[in-house]
């Protein structure tokens, strides 16, 4: 772990700690230390530093909405935008709680892609018609409602090809 210009650079030990934490964020510092062969105080110190520098954004619970009985639909929106306004469109979408993820892509046209949740199809349509279509710079919108989810995982340390061989 190195700090240069107030930026923290993680080393192999930090990555091992992060990997252990991503497998089970509720395990103790002692347990992580034991697995990695380092002192629990080292685990504690490194985690605090990574929290302070925003490398660890939050500790959260991954909820299966379906099993929790929450009725909602998920849709993926592709928003074709005027290039001059696309940044603002993306920023406005990002402010909305219904919108879970927002991406920009430069393919043939400048696109904003967003993942959105709504209580039902009518709620989804009302949101897009009243809050997305009227945004300045929106040229047209294509929306696909998700009917089946095959995989959904948050970013993991092991997704980084260079760090796979820890």
């Amino acid at each position: 772990m190195k700090i240069k210009n107030n930026t923290l650079t993680v080393d192999a030990t930090d990555l091992k700690i992060l990997k252990a934490l991503q497998e089970d964020a509720r395990q103790t510092y002692a347990n992580i230390g034991k697995r990695l062969g380092i002192a629990h105080s080292t685990v504690y110190d490194r985690l605090r530093k990574m929290e302070r520098h925003g490398i660890i954004k939050q500790y959260t619970a991954v909820v299966d909405g379906e099993k929790a009985g929450l009725k909602s639909i998920t849709a993926l929106m592709t928003i074709y935008t005027d290039p001059k306004e696309s940044e603002r469109v993306a920023e406005e979408l990002s402010k909305t709680p219904k919108v879970l993820e927002v991406y920009a892509s430069l393919s043939e046209e400048l696109l904003i892609m967003a993942k959105v949740v709504a209580e039902n199809q009518e709620g989804l349509h009302a949101f897009i018609a009243n809050s997305v279509a009227p945004l300045p710079g929106v040229l047209r919108i294509r929306t696909s409602i998700v009917t089946k989810k095959f995989k959904e995982t948050p970013f993991s340390i092991t997704n980084d090809a260079d760090k796979l061989h820890l």
């Binding site: 897009i128 009227p134 047209r140």
Partner: protein
């Protein structure tokens, strides 16, 4: 007639109150209308699937009744919904209904008829 006395149906609305044409749930065509005059023009331009989608859902009737506050035209549109028109027959009938109303409103306030 001054602007304050102009029927709401002849006014131009801000973009958040405009009508946005979709072809299905969440699929926006890029065509919108911020006034009744624009709306009648767009009836002839937009994909007919969009007209079918909105008529079936009662969206035209709702926008015209609630935003433009033109209850008479909203009722005429509701009648169109009942006869289940599709395709160009729907486009033509919708155009006739709205343009007729627009001409009548324009005549009322002494504007050149569209």
């Amino acid at each position: 007639m001054n602007m304050e006395n102009m029927p709401k149906s002849l006014k131009t609305f801000p973009r958040e109150k405009a009508f946005y044409f979709f072809t299905s749930i969440g699929n926006y065509t890029g065509v919108s209308a911020a006034s009744l005059k624009e709306f009648v023009e767009k009836i002839n331009e937009v994909n007919v699937k969009s007209l079918e989608f909105h008529l079936c859902r009662g969206d035209f009737e709702k926008w015209i009744g609630e935003t433009l506050e033109d209850k008479e035209l909203a009722e005429d549109i509701r009648k169109l919904q009942k006869i289940s028109l599709t395709g160009d027959a729907l486009r033509n009938q919708l155009y006739l209904t709205v343009s007729k109303r627009l001409r009548r409103l324009a005549a009322q306030i002494g504007q050149p008829q569209p």
